[in-house]
Symmetry: C2
Subunit: 355 residues, 2 copies
């Protein structure tokens, strides 16, 4: 072969490999999950660098030789293990699936929350609603069902949510507080995680939490338990109601991982409602994971794939947004994007807006 032909050949092979990895994706996923959960990946980590035979892995993991054989061979297909002679070793990707917290959290979320629901993607797209959600329970959207999710879906859902949201708060408090705001409004404040951190950090600041009545009740209990009741106020409402207004006279309006739960027209509606409550000096700060503002393709991949959770499980019409889409919504709501910062923590961005 000439060099060109050889290069074209290897490029065709790479494309075939990508295509077949996707085509067998559910099978490779299940093999990886069972290799992790039965301890095969851990055994191979401990057995490195000399590698282990099928018999050795079977003994250590109390698994039949047949089971170890089909799992390790699927692991070869998934490039999670490699084989030399009759000895198997884990690859770096295999070790990541076992040791990396993000990989573990993602895999549990995909299996326990999304796997069966995702098979309904065709009807979810066709009908514009989360047709996969009935695999978990009968609710209009997942949000009504969160506390009643069957296990292990509930544990995996909250672990996923926790992993991607909480770690960034300590990193951005200084930015939120740098203009010494007297009053902050937290729209979609949920159980009060952000409010509690702000109240603890700055003894001068007051916080108003906006959310559905059921969330407000939980949030209020948490804030009172922490002893911050005097500096907290609450505004129970549905942000989607056409007659909802937010309370005025706040210096900062905060929305964290909130807009991704709504469709584009809903996002514009929420931002317009915020605008009506803003003074000329009020800053609206939107924190979200934008898939086009990530450090690398892997982080983008996780967000782009997460969108289909929103499509099939959550509500059928929202997604992980890109910067361009949110910027367009901000403009349509009559707001100006005045500042932005990216690559916070696991990949959050803050878009800062003014009237």
């Amino acid at each position: 072969m000439t060099n060109d032909a050889s290069k074209a050949g290897s490029s065709i092979l790479a494309a075939m490999h990508t295509a077949q990895t996707i085509a067998w994706g559910p099978i490779l996923f299940q093999a990886a999950r069972v290799m992790r959960d039965r301890g095969l990946l851990a055994a191979l980590r401990k057995g490195a660098p000399q590698g282990m035979t099928i018999e050795e892995v079977a003994e250590v993991t109390h698994t039949s030789q047949y089971g170890v054989t089909v799992l390790l061979e699927a692991g070869l297909a998934a490039r999670l293990v490699e084989k030399e002679g009759d000895r198997y070793r884990g690859t770096r990707a295999g070790f990541l699936l076992e040791r990396d917290e993000m990989a573990r959290v993602n895999m549990n979320f995909v299996h326990d929350v999304c796997y069966r629901a995702a098979a309904h993607l065709d009807t979810a797209i066709e009908q514009g609603r989360a047709t996969g959600l009935p695999e978990l329970g009968n609710w209009p959207t997942v949000y009504e069902g969160l506390q009643d999710l069957p296990e292990p879906a509930k544990t995996s859902w909250f672990a996923f949510d926790h992993f991607y949201s909480d770690d960034s708060f300590p990193l951005i408090l200084e930015r939120v507080l740098r203009s010494a705001p007297a009053r902050i409004m937290d729209v979609g404040g949920n159980t009060g995680k952000f409010a509690l951190q702000v109240l603890a950090r700055d003894p001068q600041v007051a916080v108003t939490v906006v959310d559905l009545p059921v969330q407000i009740a939980k949030c209020k209990a948490n804030v009172e338990k922490a002893g911050w009741a005097k500096r907290a106020a609450y505004h129970p409402c549905s942000v989607l109601s056409l007659d909802t207004e937010f309370p005025a006279d706040h210096d900062v309006i905060w929305m964290s991982q909130f807009l991704c739960c709504f469709s584009e027209p809903e996002v514009v509606h929420i931002l317009s409602t915020a605008k009506r409550a803003m003074k000329p000096t009020t800053r609206l700060m939107i924190m979200d994971n934008l898939w086009d503002c990530q450090k690398n393709e892997v982080a983008s991949l996780c967000l782009q794939a997460t969108s289909l959770y929103f499509t099939t499980v959550a509500n059928g019409n929202s997604r992980m947004y890109d910067r361009a889409t949110l910027a367009r919504c901000i403009e349509r709501a009559g707001l100006r994007l005045v500042d932005e910062v990216h690559e916070i923590g696991w990949g959050h961005s803050i878009l800062e807006c003014a009237r």
Copy 2:
């Protein structure tokens, strides 16, 4: 960064990409399937090379802009599409998933036959039986249920079986007939596909088909319909019964895609039974897809992943074998491996054995 650090960094990123592609595999699979079935991949093929906007794809495929957006963004994650400005193009891998018959057959087989069953891989390994099969119906193994599989599982199962088996027969008839055998025994002859081709090709040869009584009945009907009844004989039996004997005095014993349906101890038992029926000059020819004798890693991947179909759906204890395993079984049965040929058609091998 130094070159070494840069290289290590890109190697870590590649490993992370592999790990997350597996972790989100079921989601990426479903996105790819719906992109194919709703015509998004075909639209992008026709829209190349200038690419298409989300609005254009939505119009052509009668899909909501939201639906097109989440599908194309998941397509970016799966490397099936690429984006430049606001225009999307299919990648070579994306085109393969739409156009390549093997990719199409595999993807339908995975979705329609294996997807739900594969989620039971943990218990299938634990219990050594196909615990995913009840997702399709209540049979001891899939073989009893083939004719009663619900659609689209039935169509996808037979398309998969057909794709991988039938094309190689014309390529190997000459090899089977080169010693001018008077009598050929086809063990696991099923509905007679091989027998019919041999009988048509060589007017001197006689064929004995060995299989379960229910398969023999179908095979006999097919052979009679083709007008070859005089040169065909039948030996209905269960090859797993300890008291089964094969009829003697055959020049060639043929087993095509048969041994992969049995566990290793069962394979040794079947080969031992064959040996007792062999003359010193009889050749036993085993045709199978051996995952370690493939042209490239992609072909191996498909076979290694197929094993988990046997684990979760078929019978819970068989798999696509490698050459070393079959060679070991041949030796244990007291046979000698006297010749072998690989890379036939889509990747078949023939192992030729003598007493």
